[in-house]
């Protein structure tokens, strides 16, 4: 780096503008925000009660297909519930699972990463050891085993996923912290008498935050997918609230006869996860300094 390019590197506004020019980031953020809005406004947006069943109109195809009805835009499920409404409400579960898991695992993983990375030495060996233990456990299998024993609920699902999938945070935060803890501004804070927690929170965290954000988006995507997979394996979140993974799992009974039951939530998951990943990628690109390197 040189004195020259620093004077011209993007300031905050520029960074925002840069963000806006990053197509993937914008797309990802837009879809995610849209989904959040849909989830929040579900009662307003959903044309029907997602739980209101009407067995006389079960398995209606989407409106544009033969036999579809305009008041059930995406058709109905096996209980005659409006598929669009369920899709809209289902976004809530996906987002709640995604966000909560991301938070829990984020807190656990980042804390471990910070501690290991900052203190180094034996503390780090111990943290590395914990990470290794975690990595060597097959995550999905353990989640499967625990949920099948405890029984699925939104809470268990979130806890199990959150308590299991913190490894990426830990690994990334630890490495990033290791790189920063030797920075001179950390030494300066130490000389000024700052405690380790103070330094971690005030000096290191801001510099690692973008890594955490990137991982968070990936983690969120993974949690959404895991929820879907567990639902597929019959260990999803129980009723009444529909989740997208559950909708696929339920719809799969009609995979060949009524494929839309699988395709609609499948596409929804795909788009949401894609958007989250795009957002993560965008964040990654944007957090890299411009110019040389």
């Amino acid at each position: 780096m040189t004195g020259l390019d620093t004077t011209v590197t993007a300031n905050r506004f520029l960074r925002v503008r840069r963000g806006l020019r990053h197509a993937g980031f914008v797309l990802g953020a837009a879809v995610l925000l849209l989904t959040i809005a849909v989830a929040l406004l579900a009662p307003l947006l959903a044309p029907h009660d997602p739980l209101a069943q009407n067995l006389s109109i079960r398995l209606l195809p989407p409106a544009w297909m033969e036999g579809g009805r305009p008041d059930h835009l995406l058709g109905t499920d096996h209980l005659g519930r409006d598929y669009l409404s369920r899709l809209i409400y289902g976004s809530r579960i996906s987002l709640i699972v995604g966000f909560s898991t991301m938070l829990i695992s984020g807190v656990i993983g980042s804390t471990l990463g910070f501690i290991g990375g900052y203190f180094g030495g034996r503390v780090d060996s111990f943290v590395t050891y914990i990470i290794n233990c975690r990595l060597s456990m097959p995550g999905l299998l353990v989640a499967l085993a625990v949920i099948s024993l405890v029984g699925g609920s939104l809470f268990t699902m979130i806890m199990v996923l959150g308590l299991l999938f913190w490894d990426r945070y830990a690994v990334v935060v630890r490495t990033a912290t290791q790189q920063i803890r030797n920075a001179d501004f950390v030494s300066a804070a130490r000389v000024a008498g700052a405690s380790a927690p103070w330094i971690i929170w005030n000096e290191i965290r801001p510099n690692v935050l973008h890594h955490i954000l990137v991982i968070a988006t990936l983690e969120m995507a993974m949690a959404i997918l895991s929820e879907a997979s567990l639902s597929f394996l019959g260990l999803g979140i129980p009723a009444p609230t529909p989740s997208w993974g559950l909708m696929i799992a339920e719809g799969r009974q009609h995979l060949f006869a009524k494929p839309f039951l699988v395709w609609i939530p499948g596409i929804a998951i795909f788009i949401l996860v894609l958007a989250t990943n795009l957002l993560g990628d965008g964040l990654r690109d944007l957090s890299q300094p411009e110019g040389r390197r």
């Binding site: 990595l135 060597s136 625990v146 997918l225 699988v262 390197r293």
Partner: protein
């Protein structure tokens, strides 16, 4: 070197031990085996009796201790249901899963390495965009969804491929592809980003300034360096593939260890689940060690560190 290997091995054993303890505790604290085991029409008394005969009413630590003592001798107990040695059950199925996982990894590497490299050489080209697109979509596709769609398309509509079982090599095509698609995004991204990073290194400029062909620069100078993290990731991926074959094996009805474990989880056959846990952990540890060794062999700096 000896000291390095020794400490690695000790740590690995410690990790295995911890995993076994955590797994054991998780499995035994969260469910009642006897209820599962007694069968569907069993009464409460029958269950209690069974609990006693199976020793499930002993203190957890005592149960663990005897499990550990047996496991240390290579005896992972009998399956509750099949009443067969867990080890035998594993050995009978490991081959199938290994074929599946290894082929998937090979396919994934065969796809992601060249594409990732090309994308790195020509950033922002259409190829790069395609690679990013593939990686992103692959990441966003639930494996089971993909599997079902492939079955319905290639199996039912086109009838090109056999749908279930593992009778012929052709049977492996769909499951391997589904598994590989799960592994490709990470590998492809890492290849691309690793390669891009390496291409920016000073020594690449040095190599270019010597006038050697760009192909040679790529293979001899860039690849040797960029491959290191890919090898590590491949090891991790292989472990993940072994552990993550549950969905693929159950959808494609392939009787490997993934399906075995899934069934065992479903009916609470804990000795099998526990053994699977140990197996995946051990293979993860061995694979990463192997990756370390290969990397040390390729990178003299790591070699020195381990001396």
């Amino acid at each position: 070197m000896a000291a390095y290997v020794r400490s690695k091995v000790i740590v690995s054993l410690l990790v295995l031990f911890t995993v076994s303890l955590v797994g054991f505790a998780l499995l035994h604290l969260s469910g009642d085996l006897a209820a599962t085991l007694a069968g569907e029409n069993a009464s409460a008394e029958q269950i209690a009796e069974l609990r006693h005969t199976m020793g499930l009413d002993r203190p957890l630590l005592a149960q663990y201790a005897s499990w550990l003592a047996d496991a240390a001798r290579g005896d992972f107990g009998l399956s509750f249901f099949a009443r067969e040695s867990v080890l035998t059950m594993f050995l009978a199925r490991i081959g199938t899963t290994a074929i599946l996982a290894v082929s998937a990894l090979i396919l994934a590497i065969a796809v992601s390495l060249p594409l990732g490299m090309l994308a790195a050489v020509r950033p922002n080209s259409w190829l790069d965009w395609m690679v990013s697109g593939v990686a992103l979509s692959g990441q966003a596709l639930p494996g089971f969804f993909l599997a079902l769609m492939m079955i319905s398309f290639f199996g039912v509509t086109l009838r090109w491929l056999p749908i279930s079982g593992s009778a012929t090599p052709l049977h492996y095509v769909m499951p391997v592809v589904v598994l590989a698609i799960g592994a490709i995004p990470a590998l492809m991204r890492l290849t691309r980003s690793g390669m891009m990073e390496v291409l920016e290194q000073d020594y690449i400029r040095t190599a270019r300034s010597k006038g050697i062909s760009s192909l040679r620069v790529m293979w001899k100078h860039a690849m040797r360096n960029a491959i290191l993290p890919i090898i590590s990731l491949s090891a991790v991926q292989l472990g993940t593939l072994l552990g993550g074959s549950v969905i693929v094996e159950s959808v494609f009805a392939i009787d490997g260890i993934g399906l075995l474990t899934y069934r065992s989880i479903q009916r609470g056959d804990f000795p099998v689940v526990q053994a699977m846990l140990m197996f995946v952990s051990a293979s993860y540890i061995i694979l990463t060690l192997l990756a370390d060794v290969i990397n040390a062999w390729l990178d003299p700096r790591l070699r020195q560190k381990s001396q």
